[in-house]
Structure formats: structure tokens, C-alpha cells
Amino acid sequence: MEIVINTEDPVPIFTQLVKQIKQAVLSEELKTGSALPSIRYLASDLNLNHKTVAKAYRILERDSVIVTKGYRGTFIHPDAKANSTVDLNQWASDELRNTIRTLRESGVTDSEIRIAFRDEMNNRNL
């Protein structure tokens, strides 16, 4: 499976990586248990900073699309296909949109929403 990265694309590089790997899982180009190249190797091949690839792998691991098995490497998660359809970013946007709508309907002003959002984001106890 081939990864194509466009550095001039406004979409962040790590997002391009995440999307293409998920797409490959959905189209079964990458099957359950398939091994992926190491972060450093892929970063070197694409001439990218390894932190960018590491970030993409972290997101994929969080979404249970890939699984890292220590020194043995990184593999496609057994439930990757089902999990690839879940878009946490989209879900977060939807949740926020609904909350903002509810708050506006209740009469809370935008600046009050922003302050409340900022305060809650800064709340380390969350």
C-alpha cells in the first residue's frame, strides 16, 4: 500500500497519514494483523520529521486502528475496520456544536461560552 503525502496541502501531514491508513484499512488493503513500518523508517522514507509520523501513529493507536506490541512493532488492530469509521474529530465537533447551540438557546453569550470553554480546558482536574 502506498502512502502519498502532499506537503502543500492545507490538511496537516499527520492527518493525511491517519486518513490514508484508515482508508486502507476500510478498503482492506491493510488487513488485521498486518505489520506497519517503524515510525523512524516511515519518516525517513517520506523525508518527514519522525514526530509527525509518531503523532499519526498515536492517533491511530488511540482510535484502536493500530496496536503497538513493544519491540515487535506496530500492527493493524483486530477491530481496525470497525474503528476506522469512527472519526473522533468529527464526533468532538458535533458534540461541541450541539452544546454551543443549547447554550445559545439558553441565552448564554458567545464571550461567556468562550470564557467557560477556556476555563474548563485549563481545568487540570478534568
Binding site: 500500500m1 502506498e2 502512502i3 502519498v4 502532499n6 506537503t7 523512524r40 516511515l42 517520506l46
Partner: protein, 283 residues
């Protein structure tokens, strides 16, 4: 003295291989590359002006001639002025370093090009194959098995020597040394297989070929080092130390020649260095 004759033959071979044969082959190869793949058609291959490469090659040739003269002077002084025919391993090492210096400097100089290539790489579309790599993609399990076998045999041999002569406890030091060398080579192999790609334009096949060569070199080198140390113990134990300079010279020649298997330029994909080449699959 037979050891002197043996040494003379082996050391002559060192001079021929390291000062004449190998440099000539490498210089001719570079000449051929510059001629067949000029910067006008393959600009990505030359991150610096062509004059730089011509000058570097010329300097290396001169340096190589100087190194030959210095080595021959050392040999002449050893045999004529000092009236001393016995060679020690240190002198062989000094000659080896002088002989290899021009090629090492040339390699260092050309290696800097990869950094410039990466800096000048302005492609916005980059491609890579999403498939894992394994050590055994680059080397046969048989050769790895052989390296392990040689290591175990060496350890058994060293322990055997200690058992028949208590004073040979330094054999353990040799086991430690070999273990360290194996560890070092393992790290270098890992770096070659999973590490950074130096040439950003390099094609998949070329990279595989290069990594294969590096891995095989280190595995073979670890075997050769172990055999050399085993010989060193055996010769010292049998009071045959006077043969060691010849063995040492032979060892250095083998170590020097293992990594320098001349690549055929026809095998290398130079199309990737053309200016109008679109983003190529790099792996």
C-alpha cells in the same frame, strides 16, 4: 626466515590492494559516473557545482599517490636505514591508516552531499510503501547463523585455552571484546536497516541493495574479527607471535575489502536524479 617471506608476500598484497587496485577502481567508477550522468541531465545527483567534484577527485588521486610514497618510504626506512627487518603489527596499522586515508576523506566529503540533497529536495508530493521491513529481507538466516556459530565456537575455544593453561585468563578479555564488537555491529546493522535514508531520491531497489551490502558487510566483518582473534590467541599460545604482523595485515585487507564491493553503475537507478522526475516511490 619463513615469517619474513610470508610477511613480505602479505604486505605486498596490502600495498597492491589498498593503494593501487581499490583506489583505481573507485576513481574510475567516479569518472564513469560523472561522464555517463552529467549534472546537466541529472542535477539532483550533484548538490554542489561540478567543479567541486572534479577538484575533490583530483585531490584524492594526489593524496593517494602521496600515501603510496609515504608507505614506500616507511618500508625503505625499515629495511635500509634502520637495518631492521622485523615488522610489528603497529607498523602495519600505521601503513594501513595512511593507505586508507585518501578514500576515507573522499567518502566523508561525498557523504556531506546527502545532507545537501535533503535540504534541496523541494518535492511537495512524497510517496512511500507502507510495508514493514525485516532483518531477513536483507540477509540470509544462514549467514546470521554462521556468525552466531563462530561466536559460540570462539567462546568455547577461549574457555578451552584457559582450562589447559591457567595463566590464559585473558582469553575472557577476548570473549568480552568479541561480544562488544558483535553488539556494536548489531547497533550499526539496526541503524542501517531501520534508520534514516541518506539519499532522499534513492529508489527502492537501490536502497535495498545498499542496506543488503551494509548488513552483509557487518555480519562478515564480525565473523572475520572473531576468526582473527581466535588466530591471535592460538598464535600467542603456540609461541608463534612472529607470524602475527602477517596475519594482522591479512586481516586488515579483508576488513577493508569486504565493504568495498564495487557497485555496478548500470544497476543504480539514475532516473530519480533527473530534474523533471515526479515524486517517486521511495520504498
Amino acid at each position: 626466515m619463513p615469517e619474513n617471506i610470508i610477511f613480505f608476500v602479505v604486505f605486498s598484497s596490502q600495498i597492491f590492494l589498498l593503494s593501487f587496485y581499490r583506489p583505481r577502481k573507485l576513481f574510475n567508477l567516479l569518472d564513469q559516473v560523472f561522464e555517463t550522468y552529467p549534472p546537466e541531465r541529472y542535477p539532483r545527483f550533484y548538490p554542489r557545482p561540478m567543479e567541486f567534484y572534479e577538484k575533490t577527485l583530483k585531490k584524492s588521486r594526489i593524496l593517494n599517490i602521496c600515501s603510496i610514497l609515504v608507505v614506500l618510504l616507511i618500508v625503505a626506512m625499515r629495511y635500509t636505514y634502520l637495518r631492521k627487518g622485523n615488522w610489528d603489527s603497529l607498523m602495519v596499522t600505521i601503513c594501513f591508516l595512511i593507505q586508507t586515508l585518501p578514500l576515507i576523506l573522499l567518502n566523508i566529503s561525498l557523504k556531506k552531499d546527502y545532507k545537501l540533497m535533503r535540504e534541496q529536495d523541494s518535492r511537495t508530493i512524497r510517496k512511500a510503501e507502507l510495508k514493514p521491513i525485516r532483518l531477513f529481507d536483507f540477509i540470509s538466516p544462514g549467514l546470521i547463523g554462521m556468525a552466531v556459530f563462530v561466536y559460540i565456537s570462539f567462546a568455547a575455544f577461549a574457555i578451552y585455552i584457559v582450562q589447559i593453561d591457567d595463566e590464559w585468563y585473558e582469553a575472557f578479555y577476548y570473549i568480552f571484546l568479541v561480544s562488544l564488537i558483535y553488539l556494536l555491529f548489531a547497533v550499526l546493522i539496526k541503524k542501517a536497516v531501520f534508520g534514516k535514508k541518506w539519499d532522499p531520491y534513492q529508489s527502492d531497489e537501490d536502497r535495498k541493495r545498499q542496506v543488503k551490502l551494509i548488513v552483509r558487510t557487518f555480519v562478515c566483518a564480525s565473523i572475520v574479527v572473531t576468526i582473527y582473534l581466535a588466530l591471535s590467541i592460538a598464535f600467542s599460545f603456540a609461541e608463534m607471535r612472529h607470524f602475527m604482523p602477517a596475519v594482522w595485515s591479512l586481516y586488515l585487507q579483508v576488513m577493508f575489502l569486504i565493504p568495498f564491493k564495487t557497485p555496478k553503475i548500470e544497476d543504480k537507478n539514475f532516473e530519480v536524479y533527473k530534474k523533471d522526475t515526479p515524486a517517486v516511490k521511495t520504498n
